[in-house]
Amino acid sequence: MNGAISVDSISYAYGEIKAVNGISFEVARGEILGFLGPNGAGKSTTIKMLVGQLVPQAGSIRILGMPVHGHSSEVNARIGVSFEEKNLYLQMTAEENLKFFASLFGIKRLDVRALLERVDLAGRGKDRVASYSKGMRQRLMIARALINDPDVLFLDEPTDGLDPVSSRAIRAIIEERAHAGTAVLLTTHDMNEADRLSDRVAFINEGVFHAIDTPENLKLKHGTRSATVRIRVDGEIVEKRVPLDQESVGDGLKGAVNDGEVVTIHTEEATLEDIFVSMTGRGLV
C-alpha cells in the first residue's frame, strides 16, 4: 500500500457495539474520497482512528507511509482536521485561535490575514469567535485545518447546515487543495456534494463498507437510467417513463412520442442516495 492514507482491516467497538468492522481503503495524493453513511455508521470513529485519537482494536493505519499509532506527533504535523463539532475557543478572536494552533505546529510566522482572506473572514479576524455565525465558525474551522499546509485533510461534515454561499466557498477550497496534491477524506450527508466533489465515494453502514468506487461507476453498476416524456393528449398532460437500460429503448421512446404532442423529454439517472438506499436498505439520516 502506498497511498497517502492506507487503511487495512481496522475495527473498533464500544463495548458490544461494533462501530467499525474490518474496513480497508486507500486515498491517493490529490484524491478526494467521500465517506457516506447515516449517523452512527462509523464515519467519525474511523476519522478518530485516522487522526490517532482512537487506537484500532484490529488492523493498521498508515498516513504518508507512517504508522499513525506510535508516531502521532509526526503524522499530525502533516495532517489537517476539521471536526464535525465546532471546537474553537469562543472567547478568543479568530486570529488568536489560528495563532495558537499555529504555535502547536511550531509555525512561528503565520500569515493569518491571508488564511482568513481565503475563507472570507479577513474583516472579522479580531472579533471573538463567540460572535460568529455557524457558517463563519465552519469557515474558521477550515482555515484552522489548513494552517500547516497539510498533505492529508480530514473533513468531517464540512458543509453541514451551511447556507449555499458558505458551502460553495468551502467546496472551492477543498477542490483547490486536492488539485494541489492534498489527499482529502470527506464525510458528508449531502449526496450532491459527495457526487460533485469526490473522486471516489465509500458507502459505510453499521461499520462496514457496502461499496467504494467512483460516483459514475456506482451509478452505472447499481443505478437505473430512464427518460420521462411528457405529452399532451386531448388537452391533458400525460407523463410516460421509459427505462434506458434495455435493448428496445428506441421502440419505447418512439411509442411514447407518438402517443401525443411532445411537451418535454427529460433523462434521469440514479442518485447516490438511491443507490445507497438500495444497497443498505436505509436512508442517510
Partner: protein
C-alpha cells in the same frame, strides 16, 4: 517543517489558558475582588486577644471587696455599678457601660437613644454579681445570704459555674475561714509553645481559612477552564496537532498550581505571614495546597458540563476540605476524624508555621501526610481528566 519542542507546546497552551482566563470576567472579578476582600478582612480583624473577663459588681459598701477582687484572679476586670438595677440593664442589653479615662463608669441608655460618651471605652460585662446589703455581716456571722449572679443568654455555662465557686471562695475569705478542703498543689505544664500573654488572635486564626478560600476560588476557575475544553471538545482539536495529551495535562498542571500558588503567595505576603514564620515552610505548605486543589480542579472540570454543574461539583468536593480551616478557628473543639480530611496536613503546617513559628521538625508529620494526599488527589485528577479526554 520541524515540529515544536514539548516545552514550546506546553508554553503555547499556557499562553492560551491565560488569554482565556483573562477574558472571563467572572474569574477575573472573583480572583481580584476576592483577594482584595480577603486581605481587607484580615487587617480589619482584631490582632490582640482580650483575656480578661469583665464582671459587674453592685454593693453599697465595697470595703474589703476591692482588695479581694484585685487579688482574686489575673485578667479579672471588675466594674462597680452604683446600683444592681443599672448592672441588670447593662447585662440585659438595654444599656451600655463605658469607662472614662479617669476610671469613672458611665451608663448609656441605648433604649432611650442616649449619645455615646466621649473619651470612654465600652465595656463588655459578661456577668454581674449582686451582693445583698448585709452580705459582709451575714457572712462573718455565719448567716446564710443570697448573692444574685446575673448573666445573659450569651454567657457561657463554664463562666456561670466559675462565678458561683468564686462567690463561695470569697465568702470563706471574708469569714476568715479556710475552705473545708486541702487545696492540692497544681503543677502547670504547658505543652507546646507558652503563649501566655500572646495568644493567637482571631486575625491569625483566620489565615488558613483565607488561604483556603483563595485555593477554592482558583480551583473553580481551573475546573471551569477544563470544563470548557471538555464540553467544547477543544481537547480533540489540540490532540489532532503535534501536541500530545500529556502536553495538555502538563500545561493544566502548571496553570492550576501557578494560579493557586500565585494568589496564595500574594495573600500570605499581604497579610505578613512570611515575616511571622519560616517562609520556606509556608511556601511548601502553600505549594502542596495548590497542587492538591489543582488535582481536584482537574477531576471536577472533567465532570462538570456547564457553569452551574462545575460550581456544584467544585463546592461538593472542596467544602469538606474547609473543615480543618474551621478547626483552626476553634482549636480544641474539632473531632478526631478531622485529621483524616485531606487538607488537614496542609492547614496544620500553615497554622503551626505562621502562628507558632514551627520549624521543619515540627511540621514534618503534617507535611508528610499532605504529600501523601497530594499524590493521591493529583493522580486522581490527572487520571479522570486524561480518561475523559480520551473518550471524547
Amino acid at each position: 517543517m520541524s515540529g515544536p519542542g514539548r516545552a514550546a507546546i506546553v508554553g503555547a497552551i499556557l499562553k492560551k489558558d491565560l488569554i482565556q482566563f483573562s477574558r472571563d470576567r467572572v474569574y477575573m472579578v472573583l480572583s481580584i475582588v476576592g483577594l482584595v476582600m480577603f486581605i481587607t478582612v484580615y487587617w480589619l480583624l482584631p490582632d490582640t486577644v482580650d483575656e480578661s473577663i469583665t464582671i459587674g459588681l453592685s454593693h453599697y459598701d465595697l470595703g474589703q471587696f476591692e482588695a479581694v477582687f484585685a487579688d482574686a484572679e489575673e485578667g479579672l476586670d471588675v466594674v462597680v455599678f452604683e446600683s444592681e438595677e443599672a448592672m441588670r440593664s447593662v447585662i440585659a442589653g438595654d444599656a451600655e457601660a463605658w469607662r472614662t479615662d479617669t476610671g469613672r463608669i458611665l451608663i448609656r441608655d441605648t433604649v432611650a437613644g442616649e449619645a455615646r460618651p466621649e473619651n470612654a471605652k465600652k465595656l463588655s460585662v459578661l456577668v454581674g454579681l449582686g451582693f445583698p446589703e448585709n452580705f459582709l455581716r451575714d457572712t462573718a456571722t455565719g448567716t446564710a445570704g443570697t448573692v444574685r449572679v446575673l448573666v445573659n443568654d450569651d454567657t457561657p455555662e463554664e463562666i456561670r459555674t466559675a462565678m458561683v465557686s468564686f462567690i463561695r471562695e470569697i465568702a470563706f475569705m471574708l469569714a476568715g475561714v479556710e475552705m473545708p478542703i486541702t487545696e492540692p498543689e497544681a503543677d502547670e505544664i504547658i505543652l507546646g509553645t507558652d503563649r501566655m500573654g500572646a495568644q493567637i488572635s482571631m486575625r491569625e486564626r483566620m489565615q488558613p481559612m483565607l488561604i483556603f478560600f483563595v485555593l477554592m476560588m482558583e480551583t473553580f476557575a481551573l475546573a471551569s477552564l477544563i470544563g470548557v475544553e471538555i464540553t467544547h471538545r477543544t481537547v480533540t482539536a489540540i490532540t489532532a496537532t503535534p501536541a500530545k495529551l500529556s502536553d495538555l495535562l502538563a500545561a493544566k498542571t502548571i496553570f492550576g498550581i501557578g494560579l493557586s500558588l500565585g494568589q496564595a503567595v500574594v495573600l500570605l505576603a499581604a497579610i505578613g505571614a512570611f515575616g511571622a514564620g519560616n517562609a520556606l515552610i509556608i511556601l511548601t505548605a502553600a505549594f502542596l495546597g495548590a497542587a492538591m486543589f489543582t488535582g481536584i480542579g482537574m477531576a471536577v472540570g472533567s465532570a462538570g458540563r456547564d457553569f452551574i454543574g462545575t460550581l456544584f461539583f467544585t463546592m461538593a468536593c472542596v467544602l469538606p476540605l474547609a473543615i480543618p480551616a474551621f478547626s483552626a478557628l476553634f482549636p480544641g473543639m474539632s473531632p478526631a476524624w478531622v485529621r483524616f480530611v485531606p487538607s488537614h496536613g496542609v492547614m496544620t503546617a500553615l497554622v503551626d508555621a505562621t502562628a507558632y513559628g514551627a520549624g521543619w521538625s515540627d511540621v514534618a508529620a503534617p507535611l508528610g501526610t499532605a504529600v501523601v494526599w497530594v499524590v493521591v488527589l493529583f493522580a486522581l485528577g490527572l487520571g479522570v481528566l486524561s480518561r475523559k479526554a480520551r473518550t471524547l
